[in-house]
Amino acid sequence: MSQRDVKNRISSVKNIQKITRAMEMVAAARLRRAEQRIEHLRPYAEAIRRMTRTAAGAAENIPHLPILKEHATQESVGLLLVTGDRGLAGAFNSQIIRAGLRAATEYEAAGQKVHFSATGRRGVSSLTFRGRELEGRYVGFTDRPAFADARQIAEDLMVAYVDQKVDRVEIFYNGYISPLSQVVRRETLLPLQQASILGDDDLDVVEDASDSATVNHARSLVEYEPDPEEILKRLVPDYVEISVYRALLESTASEHGARMTAMRSASENAGEIIEDLTLEMNRARQAEITQEIMEVVAGAEALT
């Protein structure tokens, strides 16, 4: 490569580095806000979960609500994939899509139908590209999801479940742990009997254990106002909405974290490339100078 080519490459890599640095900083600023929102929501979401479980435990013998009814057959599954509107965030989007497709393959192997829906343009376009029909496309808000967005999605999912279009609803999203680490979470939202709330996974395991103990022996002692069935009529939709909202917020925080990390390593990588190229350019320049000196010396020798 000639000196000029190398120089051009260095300047283009420098431009890329500027862009990735800027993106890293934007992601860091947004991450702080997203982190705050999810941290504020978590205690509420956990409490709603526990409360739903308590009430559902007490109401076991009254499955009149269509939303509470477990379907007799398991013929179709609704999968909601929570992704981002934009890429350049490392494995953030692809790991969700991979997990979702793997689950779909399993269900289809077992002879069940899979209905996809997705939030975020990346998820929507990847699934469409793979020839999947989408029941719901929710895009344009993953930077800053509002509760109304979650409500809309939750409503669609519940309608599909109540109308027996799907017999099970699962949600896939990136759980936020730290800017450096996000894990794919797979949760069952409906039917409630199999929902992830009943066999619990997360954070406050200790509190949960004591809680379920009190629930079990105090089931008949708890007063309900109004009766558990009435409470569940409002609590279950709230629970689904909050769960979806939580997934959206977890995903947003994860997206900014993943993008920040990805952009940081891109900037570092660009720095390395610049170093290598500078070295190469210097070497090329020196080779050129040596060449010229040799030509001059050879010319002088020829004259004497």
């Binding site: 504020h40 709603i48 409503e155 009190t214 708890v222 007063e223 009435e230």
Partner: protein, 140 residues
């Protein structure tokens, strides 16, 4: 005589708004007004929008405009999960009036039995309750 105190925690989707010990908690369930004292029996209740009062002592009363939610009492602890809990001095009367009018208009135009109607009805009830809180200490 001072009553026994018990811990109360209020959570909203935007975070914790109150955590402390109170002598009495007064709010409204979908059945009717309710007051909780220490050592109350385990309870799970559905709350309607109203003025929430937390009696930290006979004279110290913390008030909130409280939205829909749930109240759980267990092990002598009260946990409230509500969609809003706003201090009365943070309420904007003008703004509430506008929202109430808007909800009332939507309610009139909404189709019978539609989800829009149900939402407008809930909105209207919430803004009415908040307006009452905002317009000064309740006479009751």
């Amino acid at each position: 005589m001072a009553r026994n105190r018990f811990p109360v925690e209020i959570l909203t989707p935007e975070g914790e708004v109150y955590k402390g010990e109170v002598e009495m908690l007064s709010t409204k369930t979908s059945v009717g007004s309710i007051g909780i004292l220490a050592n109350h029996a385990p309870l799970l209740a559905m709350l309607d929008p109203t003025e929430l009062r937390l009696y930290e002592s006979d004279t110290e009363i913390v008030r909130f405009a409280q939205g829909e939610g749930y109240l759980q009492v267990s092990d002598n602890k009260a946990l409230m999960l509500v969609e809003d809990a706003i201090r009365p001095d943070a309420l904007d009367v003008e703004n509430l009036r506008e929202r109430l009018d808007e909800a009332a208009r939507t309610l009139e135009q909404a189709q019978d039995g539609s989800a829009e109607q149900a939402k407008a009805r809930r909105d209207k009830r919430r803004w009415e309750a908040f307006l009452k809180v905002a317009e000064g200490p309740a006479s009751s």
